[in-house]
């Protein structure tokens, strides 16, 4: 998608990733041991990453990985008779069970596990990332990630966390857990707090891939479709988000011809499909808001009235001060800066430590003809943000208006 800015694609990693989840899932399913299965897959992937660049990618990468995993398993488990018996029964391709990987995802995101462990376990087991890669992406020490994963796996086994998709009655709550983790992965990749472009892109792509796998398996869950649409819309505009110097380009200034308009149209169809179920939720509504921006041919054509309505609906299902702030920004273009300022002032108490509140105030104060106060608000925003891209924008603005 972004080949025009010269980002080589790692096909090898993609092949491994596409098959690792399914492989782990079938091994867990048949062995009944989460930890052992996952170790086998990691071993097989590491062998592949070492040998494929030299020997070439095999014709059937999935079968290759499976054979390596099984042989390795037989070596390791020779002393454990009950595993050996099961392992020798393993055939590839495994029984046609499209929901194996999904079960694995629900196990990784079980509410009895802490959120950080859910994220780490999902990345490791389903996306096939290594511990050092996860540590790099989330800026935590490797030992911390390793510990989180070890503890989580031990708890899954010892506390008998079941390996299954929850029954219908519990599905909405559990699905929520899973969607949150996928959304977190995407945000981490998209907002790239680490500053490492390659890892961020990988995380964003993994999240998109997870969301589309979820839609494939649960095609009638509107929020799952909504999340996929949301991610696709962001991805479709990703190319235009940074300039050649790596600085963020704000929405009004983005070159809209560089957006992936086919992907935007497809996302629109996803939103319509989700909406047909008549069960709106936060992901569908966020996707609809992003779609309003993405479908406008020019910034001036943005349908702000529609966006304000969508924010009102979003606030009704998922109230949050940050959402109210975003609504206030939309309100500026719909009802004018005074109306927006009133909303922002009402939020000041809740969001005093949130840099975008002060950056928004600065913009509104400038529009209302109060440049001194605007500069002060910008400085406050600058004090509060560590994200280098955000800092650069605010610094620019302060120097222009001095």
């Amino acid at each position: 998608m972004c080949d025009d800015v010269g980002r080589p694609h790692d096909e090898l990693a993609r092949v491994v990733r596409d098959h690792a989840g399914r492989l782990a899932a079938s091994l867990v399913h048949l062995l009944g041991d989460f930890s052992a299965a996952e170790d086998l897959v990691q071993d097989a992937i590491e062998t592949a990453l070492r040998r494929w660049p030299v020997e070439g990618v095999p014709d059937r990468p999935d079968a290759w990985l499976f054979t390596v995993a099984r042989n390795r398993g037989l070596d390791v488990l020779r002393r454990q008779a009950r595993y050996r018996e099961k392992l020798t029964q393993l055939q590839w391709p495994a029984r046609e069970e499209p929901d194996d990987r999904l079960r694995l995802l629900f196990t990784c995101c079980h509410p009895a596990l802490p959120r950080q462990a859910q994220v780490a376990l999902t990345l490791r087991t389903i996306c096939g990332l290594t511990t050092p890669q996860i540590a790099a992406a989330f800026l935590v020490p490797e030992s911390t990630v390793a510990q989180r994963i070890t503890r989580a796996k031990r708890k899954i086994t010892d506390a008998a966390i079941p390996y299954r998709i929850p029954p219908d009655a519990e599905l909405p709550e559990r699905l929520n857990e899973v969607l949150t983790v996928v959304y977190l992965l995407y945000n981490e990749g998209y907002l790239s707090s680490t500053g490492d472009g390659a890892w961020s892109r990988r995380l964003a792509e993994d999240a998109e891939w997870l969301a589309s796998s979820l839609v494939w398996t649960l095609p009638r869950e509107p929020e799952v479709i909504g999340l996929l649409a949301l991610i696709r819309l962001h991805q479709a505009r990703a190319c235009a988000r940074f300039d050649a110097g790596g600085r963020i380009v704000l929405l009004p200034d983005q070159d809209r011809s560089r957006w992936d308009h086919a992907a935007i149209a497809e996302a629109g169809q996803l939103i319509a499909r989700a909406a047909a179920s008549g069960r709106p939720g936060p992901y569908q509504l966020q996707a609809a808001i992003v779609a309003c921006h993405a479908e406008a041919p020019r910034w001036e054509d943005t349908d702000w009235a529609q966006i304000v309505v969508l924010y009102d609906m979003l606030l009704a299902v998922a109230p949050s001060p940050v959402t109210r702030l975003n609504r206030a920004i939309a309100l500026r273009y719909h009802a004018g800066p005074e109306a927006a300022m009133k909303e922002v002032d009402a939020l000041a108490e809740h969001l005093d430590r949130y840099p975008l509140l002060h950056a928004t105030r600065a913009e509104l104060l400038r529009a209302l003809g109060a440049p001194e106060e605007a500069r002060e608000a910008d400085r406050r925003a600058l004090d509060l943000t560590a994200n280098p891209a955000q800092r650069a924008i605010i610094e620019d603005r302060i120097s222009w208006t001095c």
Binding site: H110, A112, D158, A159, A160, I161, P162, P166, E170
Partner: protein, 113 residues
Amino acid sequence: MKYVLMFAEPPQYAEYLAAMSDEERQAAYDEVGRWFAENAARITHHVHLLPAHTATTMRKVDGHAEVTDGPFVEGKEIVTGFVEAEVADLDEALAMARSWPGCPVIEIRPADV
């Protein structure tokens, strides 16, 4: 698989109960009674503990035992009873705990048997 559900009361819970009228309190107790009846097939053992002031704590310090009255003074959530249940997995234990109408804190742990 055997799990133990430990029921704990934070200090606010006693105040909450005390603030109820007699009928409301009776209704709350009845709900607990119903929960026990509904889960009777799973519950293998049930113990209700007497209040925290009846507790005695023995602490081994440097090889000898020191006996004090009461649970840890800094303890904020005090275990008031426990249930031993035979269920398939953690999800079934969680479903039981979710429908528990009594005190608000429940620790669920598999029993090593």
